[in-house]
């Protein structure tokens, strides 16, 4: 055990928890998250005053905003009791180090790790067993040669300390302000951990920068913040992985992702998330693309009890481009409400959205998207394509795109199809000697291929395997 971990055990887990318990009785009557909690988080991180101020402001906004409840067909959030958020944080601070023993992990998570063929060491890391203090990213392949070129890739908490000027300018100011929505405000108040990526001008990072699962000192990996800044004409591919289920006794994840794609730059953000089945996954992810910049989102949303996630891109500069490729998979008891938002705010901007979803065993998938073309965004074009595949009659699949067009010189197209898995296709494959399960898995693999081919091979393999696991036992 490292000294960091000892530190964690001594000071954080016990001492601070006790401290907070005392405090709790002092402000017990206050509902929900309190200022005191925020001060404790900030103090513990030794944050500069301005960050504390931002947190407190976000908290006030969070307290003022209503829960989103009036969207048509939205996931049921009645269980997400804001008043319970603090009580949920506390016990987790207590067990922040995760479980002490691999054996204490829930069966389904262990099972998944085993089936994914992940080595024991990595399993420990992924499951948070022996979590590390101050959240050095568990799995990070940042190489020295990139550092030499001025590329910065570090934990967000550290970035606040080491690069305050950059962080101060960009952190929840222009891209995802806390006022954006209730969960962005919550995130702004209690965010912790996450990644900071900075790529200088004219620099191409020609291998993916990866951040795998990580735990940080607060044990609140569920509120991680990712800030990516790609300077002019730079290029980077960032991969955030939870391609194994995150073990968590929390039931709320509210992350924030902000991406600045400066003139001529190219950023790809890929993520494959597979949350535990008790998690509410309510995120805000947004990119601002300047002149001739390109933003690409590749995401796989799996797991979770309910997900509400609509990565968005603001095409701010002329000639900016956005591509969205998403896949959602919902099994029993899951409600995956996801989509994409694109704001065309300048001429000659272009976006494409390709969304695929699979629903089975009573799962629900929903594509909820917004394409906004502002007055003056001449010669902009957008094309949205959604395909839903349904396995059985307990599942549901909805498509709810919204298009707001304020400019006439545009080309806007939306198309969606829904269908069941083709009996003829299954029959054809069976007649070639595949059994029913394999045939269906092969069809699904073909269906999601546009996504997997965008991912580095190891992620693509894992995504495929995860989907196989999800489908296991449910077929035939």
């Amino acid at each position: 055990m490292s000294s960091d971990q000892d530190h964690l055990k001594e000071t954080d887990t016990e001492a601070r928890f006790e401290f907070k318990k005392e405090e709790a009785s002092a402000f017990k009557s206050e509902k929900g998250l309190t200022e005191e909690t925020i001060r404790v988080i900030s103090e513990d991180k030794d944050e500069p005053e301005w960050m504390l101020e931002r947190r407190l402001r976000a908290l006030r906004q969070f307290q003022e905003m209503p829960m989103p409840t009036d969207w048509p067909g939205q996931p049921d959030l009645s269980e997400v009791d804001i008043d319970e958020i603090v009580p949920y944080i506390r016990p987790d601070i207590d067990t922040r180090g995760g479980v002490d023993d691999w054996e204490d992990l829930p069966e389904d998570i262990k099972d998944t790790f085993d089936k994914l063929g992940i080595p024991e060491a990595e399993k420990n890391a992924l499951s948070g067993v022996g979590a590390q203090y101050e959240s050095e990213i568990v799995y990070q392949n940042m190489q020295e040669r990139w550092e030499e070129k001025g590329v910065i890739f570090m934990d967000m908490d550290r970035a606040v300390q080491e690069h305050p000027e950059i962080v101060k300018e960009h952190f929840m100011t222009k891209c995802v302000p806390p006022s954006d929505n209730k969960f962005a405000a919550l995130h702004g108040a209690i965010w912790s951990g996450g990644s900071f990526v900075y790529v200088p001008e004219d620099t191409t990072v020609n291998m993916p920068v990866q951040a795998y699962f990580r735990m940080n000192s607060e044990g609140m990996g569920q509120f991680e913040h990712t800030l990516i800044i790609a300077e002019e004409n730079s290029e980077v591919h960032y991969i955030e992985g939870c391609s194994a289920p995150k073990y968590s006794s929390f039931n709320l994840h509210s992350g924030g992702v902000e991406v600045f794609v400066n003139e001529g730059a190219h950023v790809q953000y890929s993520t494959v998330q597979n949350w535990s089945k008790n998690t509410y996954n309510l995120n805000t992810k947004r990119a601002i693309a300047e002149k001739d910049a390109t933003m690409e989102w590749v995401s796989g949303s799996m797991g979770s009890k309910a997900t509400m996630l609509y990565p968005s891109t603001i095409l701010k500069g002329p000639g900016a481009t956005d591509n969205h490729i998403t896949i959602a998979f919902a099994g029993e008891g899951q409600d995956i409400d996801t989509g994409a938002k694109v704001y065309h705010n300048a001429p000659n901007t272009k976006s494409t959205i390709e969304s695929k979803s699979i629903a089975k065993d009573g799962g629900r998938t929903n594509y909820r998207g917004l394409v906004h073309i502002s007055d003056g965004a001449e010669n902009s074009s957008t094309s949205v394509e959604c395909d839903a595949l349904m396995f059985d009659n307990e599942s549901t699949s909805d498509t709810m795109p919204y298009m707001e067009i304020e400019e006439s010189k545009v080309d806007v197209a939306h198309e969606a199809t829904v269908g069941k898995i083709g009996d003829e296709d299954v029959f054809y494959l069976q007649s070639r000697g595949l059994d029913d399960d394999d045939a269906k898995q092969m069809i699904v693999a073909g269906f999601i291929e546009p996504i997997t081919e965008e991912l580095p091979i190891e992620y693509a393999v894992e995504l495929n395997r995860l989907i196989e696991l999800e489908m296991e036992g449910s077929l035939g």
Partner: protein, 404 residues
Amino acid sequence: MSVQLETISEETVRQLSEERDEPEWLLEQRLDALEALDDLPFPDVIQTPGRKWTDLADLDYESMVDPFSQTEEKEWEADEGIDVLPFHEAVEAEESLVRDAFGSVVDPETNYLTALSTALFTTGTVIYVPEGVDAEDVTIRTTMNGRSLFNYTLVVTEKSSSVTILERQETGEDLDGSRYYSGLTEIVGGENAYVQYGSLQDLDQTTYNYQLKEAEVDTYGTVDFIDVNIGSRLTKASVETHLNGDSSETKMVGAFYGHDDQHFDIDARVWHNAEHTTADLVTRGVIDDRARSVYEGVQNVGREAWDTSSYQRENTLMLSDESEADASPKLIINNHDTEASHSATVGQVDQQDLFYMTSRGVNERLAKNMLVEGFYVPVLEEIEVEELREELTERVRERLRQRE
């Protein structure tokens, strides 16, 4: 949520009912609707976070709704063999029929505006097509003269009957200030019956217009809607079909042309509630000047709706830079044995087509007009009522002539 109207009370409703010598049950229904007003929301409009696309709660109903000045001219043309009666004649002549059907498809308490309509309607039409009767054309023309008009259309078709109905709304004499037209249409589509209901809304541009047309379709039945919106200052028009019988079908064809500062909020919704049902939704609209269109199309496939086919297409053509178009085609799928698709596009007149035509010697203005007219062709092809097809073409031409 709701708007308190000083000008209407229980007394108002009792007086309207008494003047029309209505039976007790109808008065009761009106009073129930009136009482429900306070608790009812305004019609659903699509909204995205931070934005409501049509705000019906903001209209000044107080100044527009004048229950005792409802005047109109109505003309009916119909074939023999079916009953086409003014609403209050039908209440006397076919009381049990009207009583059974009234409010059976459109729930008066659907929203604030339907309840208001039920409480205050003074005029309307009942069309009854008995079993096996093939009625050709029924035409209803309503010319609104007063400050407000609440109209009710009830269509009941029996087994294996058929009918084609064309209903038109217009405004007569000019009035200062704005006015309000509200129309409810309910259609009971019998087993194996075929109903085609076309509507042409051509109210003047001082009129605020709310219309809900809803149909229920029995086994092997078909109800087709054609909904054309040309006039009004603001329109909220919903066309909805419930495919309740096995193998029932619906086709919903929409067309609109907005100019000046017109606002159209159009809905087309279908519920697949039975097996082997088919729906086809086609809407095309042009918007010009500062006009705005909002379109929502919903295909809702229920859990028991095995072997569903459902298609939706919506296309908007923008002719000016100040116009705005919003579209949201929605698919709600609860049965996996479904073949469904939807698509929507927004764009301007195709520059290549325009170039091709001008290079053939057609002047640009004429070329553009031809392309706009041509844009409606896929919808015109779906309109089987010749009169409506011609009228739409004529109104589109008229609008194009008015362009500078």
